[in-house]
Amino acid sequence: MKTVIRVGMSTCGLAAGAQATYRALAAAIHSRGLPVTLQATGCVGACHREPLVEVAQNGASILYGPVTPAEVNALLDLHFGAATPSPASDWLVSRHADRRDYPFLGKQVKVTTQLCGVIDPHSLDDYLAHDGYQALRQALTMTPGQVIQAVKDARLRGRGGAGFPTGVKWEIGHRQPGARKFLICNADEGDPGAFMDRTMIEGDPHRLLEGMLIAAHAIGASRGYIYIRAEYPLAVKALHEAIDQGRRYGVIGQNILGSGLDFDFVIKEGAGAFVCGEETALMRSIEGFRGMPTMRPPYPSEHGLWGAPTNINNVETYASVPSILLNGPGWYSGMGTARSGGTKAFALAGAIQNSGLVEIPIGLTLREMIYDIGGGCRDGKAFKAVQLGGPSGGCIPAELLDTRIDYEDLRATGAIMGSGGMIVADETTCMVDIARYFLTFTQDESCGKCIPCRVGTRKLLNTLTAITQGRATQADVDKLAGLCNTIHKASLCGLGQTAPNPVLTTMRYFGHEYRAHVEEHVCPAGSCTFNGNTIDRG
């Protein structure tokens, strides 16, 4: 049997130098005349060991990383040299196909990311060989009501942050009168520090398309917009390619698979505005206007793009659906908690040993995530906090690491599940500075339409900056809570309503750091400088 060698070539792989490794492998395989198929795949998620190379030979699969171009020959010697393979070197990641010997991968349960790093994302045949478009075929034999019931039974909830039950949303969409309905996939991934959607689209673009096609059948929509950030050129390219392939294969376009369903896709590239991740702003942006949010209700399901009923879901939400239909809602809901079924992908990054893309059953604890999978903090530093949900989320301290990763449990801590960004901060990170960092971001990204958000975030930022520069008093800190409350209650959209979360959670769990800044003019983490001319970090 031919040996297959796979190189992870997603954005993260390329940033780690995978292109050079791939070229070196190709050259070495050619010059040695080896019977090897070399494949470029997406990312298996173990980004901290990139560039990753998998050698699949005689039914075994061994994963190596990081593999630099200089190590390519040694790697090929292991498999094709005279000696028996004994890769004792520190670049062996895992020698078992199920990766049980590498906890970072072995402890995960992959559903939406199951083919990332496994198949060639540019090959429709690869996807088809792994049950690709089987779920769509099955859905087309079901009534829309049956599909919606399956999604409800699976207890799938929106993965874009708010966690609204997806089956319920689809049912509302299905009930809307009229033939002109739209789907939107929210691939804006605005949380700075998150890359779940990018990894999924780069590694397995057809899964998203299949999920949207199933939704189109359930809701009765005729066109789907994928709103994706322009910062993800590889993902945009992968989608264009996959849509072309799908058209030729007959799952996109007129009379799909002979079922009478007509559906086509339009890709819209975002232009760098965080607020456009918010659904009403996103729709304005697709229509070609400034991305300004509007009041809800009316909700997009009833009154969306150009006034037509529009179902909007996150990438991961749609991508979960094919597996739900193939394996049954019971299988999916069995993996989660009582209120939320299934798995959730997280982008684990920051000061963590094993950073990368992690997919876990909902209900695992943060401790399992950070220590068993993530391997704890880097360089032996002490863990301080984990930040979930980006600028809308909060920081959770070490005492609360036994919290389960679940929409309600996380909300009780003041943080949110969010879309999956999970940034670990160690003892060198100042928590006041983290709050200031997020406010710099939200203040900059506030669209300016409503005053509580536009002026309030600026005031918050000014106070936080003053604290980190040693210019503030305890009275200033005391005023923060009231200001947060006003912004939360009075802002028009989710951006403003959630902007105080990073401030509120850091004040709640790291109040002593605020006090140290204003009372003693010291930064416990040693990161703020108090000489009055700290630099504006844009």
Binding site: T11, C12, L14, A15, A16, C47, H48, E50, E189, G190, D191, P192, G193, A194, F195, R198, T199, R229, A230, E231, Y232, P233, K268, E269, G270, A271, G272, A273, F274, S285, I286, E287, G288, F289, R290, G291, A347, L348, A349, G350, A351, S355, G356, L357, Q387, G390, G421, I423, V424, A425, D426, T429, I434, Y437, F438, F441, C447, I535, R537, G538
Partner: protein, 193 residues
């Protein structure tokens, strides 16, 4: 520079009326204004497929910027006239989104990531070091037009933080020294872009 765009009342009125009627704008000849000329062929080719599309504005601006590297005053005027949008709307949209820039960038666009993962991995130190080395601030271009320094909210390569992107190439696990070493000799004599 861009305020001067608004000194085109006659054109703006015509364009607005045309778009309200939902028809393409009539071909006006503006005596003495640069738009008396038809758009240059390259720009015309970018705009042609978008005629009559109500949602094409952002896509068209993105394509123009991809081609020219920035949005010039003329580009915005042509977009308004050729696609039938009020100039005020074209200007409003272009200035709303972070992606768009209104001055030609240097040969190398250096983007330092300021996302959360990069922030906790001290990407601010890289930004300051590069700013010092290049002698320019954020969104500025070096006098020799080699480098434009920019910040970006996140490139989605957070697991390799801190990240610096030079044109299309993403460099992971950067330090201030490694980043400067990668840039220092770019575009010097004998170097090929």
């Amino acid at each position: 520079m861009l305020e001067r765009i608004f000194v085109l009342p006659s054109q703006q009125r015509n364009v607005t009326m045309a778009s309200k009627n939902g028809t393409l704008p009539p071909k006006h000849v503006y005596r003495g204004d640069p738009l008396a000329e038809p758009p240059p062929p390259e720009l015309a080719a970018i705009l042609a497929p978008h005629r009559g599309e109500p949602d094409a504005l952002i896509t068209a601006l993105e394509e123009i910027q991809r081609h020219y590297g920035y949005l010039g005053k003329n580009h915005l005027q042509y977009v308004a006239r050729e696609l039938g949008f009020p100039l005020a709307r074209v200007f409003g949209v272009a200035t709303f989104y972070n992606l768009f820039r209104f001055a030609p960038p240097g040969k190398y666009q250096v983007r330092v990531c300021r996302g959360t993962a990069c922030h906790v991995n001290h990407s601010d130190e890289i930004l300051h070091a590069l700013s010092d080395h290049l002698g320019v601030g954020v969104d500025e271009t070096t006098p020799d037009n080699r480098f434009t320094l920019q910040v970006v909210a996140c490139m989605g390569a957070c697991s390799l933080a801190p990240v610096v992107v030079v044109n299309e190439e993403t460099l992971g696990r950067m330090t201030a020294d490694k980043a400067w070493a990668a840039l220092e000799h770019l575009g010097e004599e004998g170097e090929d872009a």
